[in-house]
């Protein structure tokens, strides 16, 4: 178990600060054995959190402990040196030593053992990750996927009690990504170490994460199981990262307290409220700006005007584009200057004979809409 409370202020001119001034990292979390996803946009504080846990940056204030052993405690002015934390860190750049072979990279981490055992352990780890054939090669002579596996093997060779993975798959293509993900799942099953896994890919978070912490501007704004966190995003930013396609700004036109709903006029490109959407009642008063988010999967598409539906939002529009993706098809529909996205299966696309320029109806439930105050 990792327990961390980290507070650090970055001055406005530091690298990790926002352009509009200083940046404050202020987080507190616990990570039990298993994969904990650190999810959020770049610059939200995920990597700074990893650096703090590893000891490569010093928080202004806080307490970090692994399995009851304190790594950092500002109240006692205590900070365990990086080399004694036994925190495995796989950098985004991997940082494989360019002047050493893959084998030597892994052996470097297995120090404190007799030479023979060191060599055996390195060989066994490279084999386990399926990169035994790269042992004699330098990092620049192996592929990105192989380098990623060598880096994982090297980190495990140092027998860490905690693993930090910083966007380990972001530079890889899809097939390699999937195969390394299955290696990571296998590794997680066997080791049961706390693993902090930084990503801004929703797919990786859902595929690997047992828990997710959502970072926004240096804070944790949501935590829970990944599908819960993405199912009800905590902010427009998280919604965007979580892959919610329909995110629009609007103004509250009216509130109906008894029905628990309110009407929001969406702004089109000219900034004029042109189409009304009924959403769950929020705190925003009439005239306030709000942002609404609707998943494309929650939007139904109809070839004729639907009648007798329970869904309260029915919009008429015209198909502006059809985008075929691997598992679904996204249909873009323009209604009054706002472009919506609805996802449909290939079969329904054919049955409804949907094509660009065709008139269609969109329908979605009031409670499929998430409302955020402000924008």
């Amino acid at each position: 178990m990792l327990n961390a409370r980290i507070r650090k202020t970055f001055p406005p001119d530091s690298e990790s600060a926002d352009s509009d001034g200083g940046f404050v990292l202020d987080v507190e979390f616990a990570a039990p054995p298993g994969v904990t996803i650190l999810f959020g946009a770049s610059g939200s504080g995920k990597t700074q959190t990893l650096l703090s846990v590893a000891g490569l940056t010093r928080p202004d204030e806080g307490l970090i402990a692994v399995q009851g052993e304190t790594l950092f405690d500002s109240s006692r002015n205590f900070s365990l040196p990086v080399s004694r934390r036994r925190v495995g860190y796989v950098f985004q750049s991997l940082a494989l030593f360019p002047h050493m072979t893959a084998q030597a990279n892994v052996e470097f981490a297995a120090h404190g053992l007799p030479r023979r055992e060191r060599r055996e352990r390195a060989t066994a780890l490279l084999e386990r990750f399926g990169v035994g054939h790269t042992a004699a090669r330098r990092p620049r002579e192996i592929s990105g996927g192989e380098a990623q596996r060598v880096a994982l093997a090297r980190t495990l060779a140092s027998e860490p009690r905690l693993l930090l993975l910083d966007e380990p798959l972001s530079a890889l293509d899809e097939p390699v990504k999937l195969s390394i993900m299955s290696d990571l799942r296998e590794m997680n099953r066997r080791l049961r170490l706390p693993i902090l896994y930084v990503t801004h890919s929703r797919d990786e978070a859902l595929a690997l994460g047992e828990r997710a912490l959502v970072f926004e501007r240096g804070r944790i704004v949501a935590e829970g199981e990944p599908h819960e966190v993405f199912g009800s995003p905590a902010s427009p930013g998280v919604a965007r990262l979580a892959g919610v396609e329909n995110i629009f700004e609007g103004v509250v036109v009216s509130r109906d307290e008894s029905a628990g709903t309110m009407l929001v006029g969406l702004k089109n490109d000219e900034g004029v409220a042109s189409c009304g959407v009924e959403v769950p009642l929020g705190r925003a008063g009439v005239g306030s700006r709000v942002t609404i988010a609707v998943r494309s999967g929650d939007v139904l598409l109809a070839a004729a005007e639907p009648k007798g539906l329970s869904a309260r939002n029915v919009l008429r529009g015209r198909v502006s584009a059809v985008e075929r993706r691997s598992s679904e098809t996204l249909v873009r529909v323009g209604c009054g200057g706002v472009t919506w996205a609805a996802s449909v299966t290939r079969q329904s696309l054919e049955e409804l004979s949907i094509e660009v320029g065709r008139e269609v109806w969109l329908a979605f439930k009031t409670h499929s809409c998430r409302v955020f105050d402000g924008d």
Binding site: S83, P98, A157
Partner: protein, 223 residues
């Protein structure tokens, strides 16, 4: 046939340069690492102090060394009581003079080489449990090795050609402290033009070859 030049000055210059390079590499790499990787108060002041011999007149540098290491100075007395002979006006004095002149070049070049090593490699080595010394010896040093080698060649070339400071500290004693560059001065003054020209040609060619090698090394480091 007698040789056109006395060979002793050339031999002495090579010996002085070799020993001086040895000192300069060890001290220079340590200083360069300190300046490139450790934040401390007075870092830039130390850098300026180390660089000073590069811009001071060689006679000023020689004067300082003479005052610091002379037979009446504490350092000079300590040296004499330990070694049994004085430091100034010996070939060892020439080594000190050449080292002081070459150190700035070594430190400047090595600082750039060490500063050019991506510190993420060093951080990775630390997270893998390695001590600071091991991080330096097994990661920083090998990754900066080409730049450091180039710096060493440069330091050697600089030591080989030292004149002013050497003359001040070691004097001009033929067969004892007369290095090649001082022999050139001596030969010119005495009108032994052939001897001067031969030594000039040999030193120029050596310096050119060393600089060429340095550029090759530095260039390969970039790639």
């Amino acid at each position: 046939m007698t040789p056109a030049v006395e060979l002793f000055p050339l031999w002495l210059s090579l010996r002085v340069a070799a020993v001086s390079t040895l000192f300069v590499v060890v001290a220079g790499v340590a200083l360069a690492w300190l300046l490139a990787r450790v934040r401390f108060r007075g870092r830039e002041a130390l850098d300026a102090l180390v660089t000073l011999p590069l811009v001071l007149p060689p006679t000023v540098l020689g004067y300082y060394l003479l005052v610091l290491l002379g037979r009446a100075s504490p350092v000079g007395r300590l040296y004499e009581s330990l070694i049994g002979s004085p430091l100034v006006f010996t070939w060892r004095g020439a080594v000190v003079a050449a080292s002081a002149g070459a150190l700035p070049l070594m430190v400047k070049t090595a600082r750039a080489a060490i500063g050019g090593v991506d510190s993420q490699y060093e951080d990775a080595a630390r997270t893998l449990g390695r001590s600071e010394w091991q991080v330096f010896a097994r990661v920083t040093l090998p990754l900066a090795s080409r730049g450091i080698l180039a710096a060493a060649v440069l330091a050697f070339a600089r030591s080989l050609g030292d004149f002013g400071a050497t003359l001040m500290v070691a004097g001009n004693i033929p067969g004892k402290t007369q290095t090649a560059s001082i022999a050139i001065y001596d030969a010119t003054q005495a009108g032994r033009d052939t001897e001067a020209l031969t030594l000039v040609a040999i030193l120029s060619l050596t310096a050119f070859a060393l600089l060429y090698a340095t550029n090759k090394l530095a260039g390969a480091n970039v790639k």
